[in-house]
């Protein structure tokens, strides 16, 4: 696998060692003292057998039980592409980017107008993801409004797997639908064992803040643990609303929710491929919206990444997302700040690229521009090579004061190591003026349209495609 995914400069920490310890120990205290409400009786039973204190649905976790489970963390989770080839090693300092999931709206790249998402949009996002070099995995982006809403998640998965070879992180409405989706994935992989050994899918599911493991999400988590398939378990703590307003408190509560899920998964299957992370975001108290790009959200995500490193669990992080209602200057600046910060922190499975409008709308412009930003940030994160060839003492001496380096062999040998953008402009003013004065948004929309009109992803075999269709349709009642 290419080295380009690796953070080659010192990782950025936002929590000092003793702050990490404090947050960890405080999390243990919350799990022991307050505990978590677990709404799924089978899970309560398993936790009780595992050594938790149970009173009705309230489960309290002895600290040593949590510590013991944390000794089994899988330091690396490998994910494959659709054909079973290794595609992502989710581990310390490897950074991969992907889209987000389940936005009710999309900005139509042809009309530029916001409208309700349809299944075709999910196919289109998958095709764009398949095309873009810097995007490593797909999430469905939209919620299809034009299919049976009870099993739209199954249709989302079918649309994704038919239109990209890249790994898929998916959502499922309930356990039954999850089982259907996994049977689709197993059909593609060539059986249960093959999917387990070379997983190209991960489930995204959530606890509910504050401190609740809901029935359906817990069932889904348990199913994935039993199957030994990757699962992302990520809370959405809204500080000041579903969690304490101060970040330390928000982090402790969110961490307790994640670790409760982790302990359960680990009791079911030791070393289950569990992906840590998620959102400790803030509420905008003027508008009561959930912020997708607040300073506090970015800072808390960095802190959670520090915790993920501390536990040696892969981190599910954020990038390329924005609160702006349209693709504009705000959208690109927020998206870019996220991308830089998540990379400097070394988040692993970094999602939500293409989100605008507080996560309610998918923007193709935001997605294709983020591809450029990710390339730029990757160049920063690749660091500086320091050796005889790159320090060039002889060359500096040879050229001397007042000379030029443009025609030296050394320049010719190395200048292509610099990174070049696709959409970001560097042309001189006069040329730009002649070339219709296109701004970034216009170029981004043109680019998205170009990809949609010209890129054909590798299709699934006809027989397999028909088999998937049959499985999905059998559930459409």
């Amino acid at each position: 696998m290419e080295n380009k995914y690796r953070l080659n400069i010192p990782r950025l920490n936002v929590l000092a060692r003793d702050q990490l310890e404090q947050i960890h120990l405080s999390t243990l205290e919350v799990l022991r003292r307050t505990g978590v409400a677990v709404k799924e009786p089978k899970a309560v039973e398993i936790l009780k057998k595992g050594g938790c204190y149970v009173k009705a649905e309230r489960v309290r976790f002895p600290s040593n039980l949590v510590e013991r489970a944390l000794r089994n963390t899988p330091p690396r989770i490998g994910m494959c592409d659709r054909s079973g080839q290794p595609a992502m090693f989710l581990e310390e300092n490897n950074v991969y980017f992907g889209t987000g999931s389940d936005t009710p709206n999309v900005v139509d790249p042809y009309t530029g107008k916001r409208r309700t998402s349809v299944l075709k949009d999910i196919e289109n996002v998958s095709r764009v993801v398949d095309f873009l070099d810097e995007i490593s995995f797909v999430m469905c982006s939209g919620i299809a409004s034009d299919v049976n809403p009870k099993i739209s998640d199954v249709y989302h998965f079918e649309a994704m797997v038919n239109h990209t070879e890249k790994p898929i992180v998916f959502t499922a409405w309930n356990l039954e639908n999850l089982k259907t989706i996994i049977s689709l994935a197993e059909a593609v992989a060539g059986g249960e064992e093959k999917l387990k050994n070379s997983p190209f899918v991960a489930l995204y599911t959530e606890p509910i803040s504050p401190l609740t493991l809901a029935e359906e999400s817990t069932q889904k988590l348990m199913f994935m643990a039993e199957k030994s398939l990757p699962v992302v378990f990520t809370p959405a703590v809204i500080t000041g609303a579903t969690g304490p307003v101060t970040l330390a408190g928000g982090l402790i509560q969110g961490n307790a929710e994640i670790l409760a899920g982790y302990v359960l998964a680990n009791l079911i299957n030791e070393g289950a491929p569990f992906i840590y992370g998620g959102g400790v975001t803030s509420m905008d108290m003027a508008t009561s919206t959930l912020c997708y790009a607040s300073a506090e959200f970015m800072l808390a995500t960095s802190a959670l990444t520090d915790l993920a490193r501390y536990y040696r669990l892969p981190m599910f992080s954020f990038a390329g997302c924005s609160d702006s209602n349209t693709y504009d200057q705000q959208a690109s600046l927020e998206g870019a700040l996220w991308t830089l910060l998540s990379s400097l922190n070394g988040g692993n499975l970094v999602h939500d690229v293409g989100y605008i409008n507080n996560g309610l709308t998918t923007s193709f412009e935001q997605l294709v521009v983020s591809n450029d930003v990710i390339g730029l940030v990757r160049r920063i994160c690749s660091g500086i090579e320091v050796n005889e060839e790159t320090m060039t003492l002889d060359l500096i001496d040879e050229i001397g004061p007042g000379g030029e380096y443009l025609t030296s062999d050394h320049t010719l040998r190395h200048f292509k190591e610099n990174w070049y953008p696709e959409l970001i402009s560097r042309v001189p003013y006069d040329r730009w003026e002649k070339e219709d004065k296109k701004d970034l948004g216009t170029k981004a929309r043109d680019r998205a349209k170009y990809i949609l009109e010209n890129h054909t992803p590798q299709p699934l075999e006809k027989k397999l495609k028909a088999e998937l269709r049959k499985i999905a349709e059998s559930r459409d009642r």
Binding site: E404, L406, T407, T411, F415, Y429, D430
Partner: protein, 211 residues
Amino acid sequence: MEILEEIAAEIEKGDPASVPALTEKALSQDISAQDILNKGLVAGMDTISERFKKGEIFIPEVLIAAKAMKAGMEIIKPLLAESKVEAKGKVVIGTVKGDLHDIGKNIVAMLLEGSGYEVIDLGNDVPKEKFLEQVEKERANVLGMSALLTTTMTYMREVIESLEKAGLKQKVKVIIGGAPLTYSFAEQIKADGYAPDAASAVDLVKDLLNQ
């Protein structure tokens, strides 16, 4: 004539070491210096500048090709003079007084040479007297001036006014370039042309001399 294609190919590859030997070889096959120039050296550079405009190759690759072209040019230069073949044009170029930032001017000079123009490079920090003296002495077709600083770019106006006073302004096309410059500044100071980047400077010279 295969040897001429070979010369063009070596220029496209950007190998300054091999071009002189191939040029000698072509001469030994009784190919005229003018044919070597047009069908070998210039042909190679034409391909290079096309590829650069399409974004297929980059500045360092163009410059190394220009270096290869120049190496071949050195050999046929005396022969061209003998047979009274005129160079495509003569360009006196320099960075104006007070300014030591000449990397842009150097690129333009190299590209012009690579396109077959004779270039007399006066370096940087060049006073108007020197520009005038060289334009007159060399009977230059084009005078190119560059500046990076907003404080030195105004000096270009002084140079042009001196050319007018000396009665040279009609005899030479004045072109200017540099990061802070614009078309409207060129107009204001009565320059004949402005190029926003090095590659278009070559086109500009071509256009001005074809007028």
